[in-house]
Symmetry: C2
Subunit: 338 residues, 2 copies
DNA sequence: GCATTTCTTGCAACCGGTTGCAATATTCTG
DNA sequence: CAGAATATTGCAACCGGTTGCAAGAAATGC
């Protein structure tokens, strides 16, 4: 059905090479042949088969886009930015949903079979070993929203989750909260682990503060709500909670209100991400903003750079986060001790 | 870098055909050769290049997954179900973000170049002509969430939006609302047009009912909020609104509450979709449920069927919707006239 | 105008597989 | 055990392109 090189060549009365060359950037073709070929091509509606050419060029311009998070609304934005960013550079995302998969082996094999030029792992929960599996298979890989390592084996673009944990604590302390808790995402998520670790480190440096923590089963509304309901019924709650992320926070908010308590009057809340919904009037969540667009832009830049230079030394690009003030924390104390 | 057929053949001491055959379902290979080949293959870590084979088989097992909606949280669920469903059948989604694109020509060409086996257009807003462009290029195509046509030119899987419009009206009438309005999505979206059309048709059959309608600029929270704020400030509001979809409803809800009014006491609200968020305790939206999972499952079944039988007569598969009772409408009137 | 240099062009081999066909090997039949 | 039927195998051509190379054409220098 589709028109091939040969047909165009025949109609234009030139060799197949000539046709190939007119469609290859920077190849040597005279204006005359180029015109003949282009005319024949448009008449026939020809466009070159990208896969056939990949066979010799070794480039498919396809990028594996892998994620295990298809439930957190923030990832819709992530997919939007990734797909557009890749498209703008002439790359095609081959989407892989890892939800039911624990082992990278299958994805590695699959992406190998499709000879993708590179792989982007978009996940804040997958362990580093995952991205490494792709690197070990010889594919350029970037782990977006991944865990920061001092001597990374793989390119990582994201935030410093430990620093975020500390930032949350300092923000809460500055507002006079003294009984503080971390309500994290799943215990197995690297982002949860790091945020908790930062949270605890900063707590250890603060006198007279009571810390506590627990985990929700997922970065999801229901998980946050369920965990908060448990906390509210089992013991007196903390004065303020640092939640693993924004969706979780919204679930927590819902639990608190269901319980007849008010935010921020009875309980303070700070999230992480600054997803669109955090700004909705009935949510109005104070949160730590993660610069998603920059992370994604940088990830794409990095993967593009690796196409040219596959052996680039692994690099961790971390972006600063900042607190976005909204309505779920009481205002900062008037006269801080410092 | 990657291992090729030839290397496996050499190591196993057989011809290249033999290797190819061991990896081809139902090809004739003796147990002995198969074992030799399999051993050599695992030793070398070989897996066949899907793109090279596509050249002769004419099948890439890639499906173009096209959408123009990367802002409505419901589409995250849509992508989740599509990617998993396709993966389960050994198909790979090549994701195309149409957000900035008005003309199908580019996407058609691109998907042609990558010789996808089929195309799924997932959009409730794109006109039929869009899916048709793919069909005209000779690709099997299914339009999911698309507009129902009596004599379709292209396979459509979705709901009857006109019927949904009527259903919304009947539901509101049954609850005693008499001044009713439709607050639709973008005027250009086919789903908006059809829902409005059903709304108006049913209204025309109802005596003593006052109808009104307007449009939001997008299926999005802010758009719904903005439009509702406009309505509230310009004139006395209707008693109840049928909103174009759930995100829109949530924006509308937010506007109403900001305005100091209560739902459902002052204003009733019914959405469409039954997205996960509709069930969140602080939303609790009464809505018309669209069976997304069935629509997607059916879409995938259809595209798979078309791989075998490309000239299948176009078919419209419409799924019934139902009202999900929650807290944004007052209860049905006790003694209806019938 | 002729020798040189630089462009174009087609040939042919190749990318990594698949597949029809004929030759060979194996199994079955009586 | 011979002859026929069936299975397995490798050869070679092909899928739709790209590319090194050498030959021919055009442009340049003097």
């Amino acid at each position: 059905m589709p028109v091939t090189l040969r047909e165009v060549a025949e109609r234009a009365g030139v060799s197949r090479s000539a046709v190939s060359r007119t469609f290859t950037e920077g190849a040597s073709v005279s204006l005359k042949t180029r015109q003949k070929v282009e005319q024949a091509a448009t008449e026939l509606g020809y466009s070159p088969n990208a896969l056939a050419s990949s066979l010799t060029t070794g480039r498919t311009k396809m990028i594996g886009l892998i994620s295990d998070n298809f439930h957190n609304p923030i990832f819709l934005q992530v997919f939007d930015l990734f797909t557009r960013g890749l498209q703008d550079r002439g790359l095609r995302p081959l989407l892989v949903n890892l939800t039911d998969e624990i082992d990278p082996a299958n994805s590695v094999r699959m992406l190998q079979q499709y000879s993708v030029d590179g792989v982007i792992v978009a996940s804040s929960t997958l362990p580093v070993t995952f991205a490494r599996a792709f690197r070990d298979a010889g594919m350029p890989v970037v782990h977006s929203f991944g865990r920061h390592a001092t001597s990374p084996h793989v390119h990582v673009v994201g935030i410093d989750n430990i620093a975020c944990g500390r930032m949350a604590v300092r923000t809460l302390i500055a507002r006079g909260y003294r009984r503080i808790a971390f309500l994290g995402g799943p215990k197995s998520a690297t982002s949860t682990q790091d945020r908790l670790s930062g949270f605890l480190k900063e707590m250890a440096e603060q006198p007279d503060v009571e810390a506590n923590y627990s985990f929700a089963s997922a970065y999801a509304f229901e998980a946050g709500r369920a965990e908060m309901i448990r906390l509210l019924t089992e013991a007196p709650p903390a004065e303020a909670y640092f939640c693993g992320d924004d969706v979780l926070s919204i679930g927590v908010l819902s639990a608190i209100r269901s319980h007849g308590l008010r935010v921020p009057e009875d309980i303070g809340l700070i999230g992480l991400n600054d997803m669109e919904m955090a700004g909705w009037q009935n949510v109005d969540l104070t949160t730590i903003r993660q610069p998603i667009d920059e992370i994604i832009k940088s990830s794409i830049d990095l993967i593009v750079a690796m196409l040219k230079e596959p052996d680039r030394a692994p690099e961790a690009r971390l972006f600063p986060c900042e607190v976005v003030e909204r309505g779920t924390l009481r205002p900062p104390a008037r006269s801080p001790s410092s």
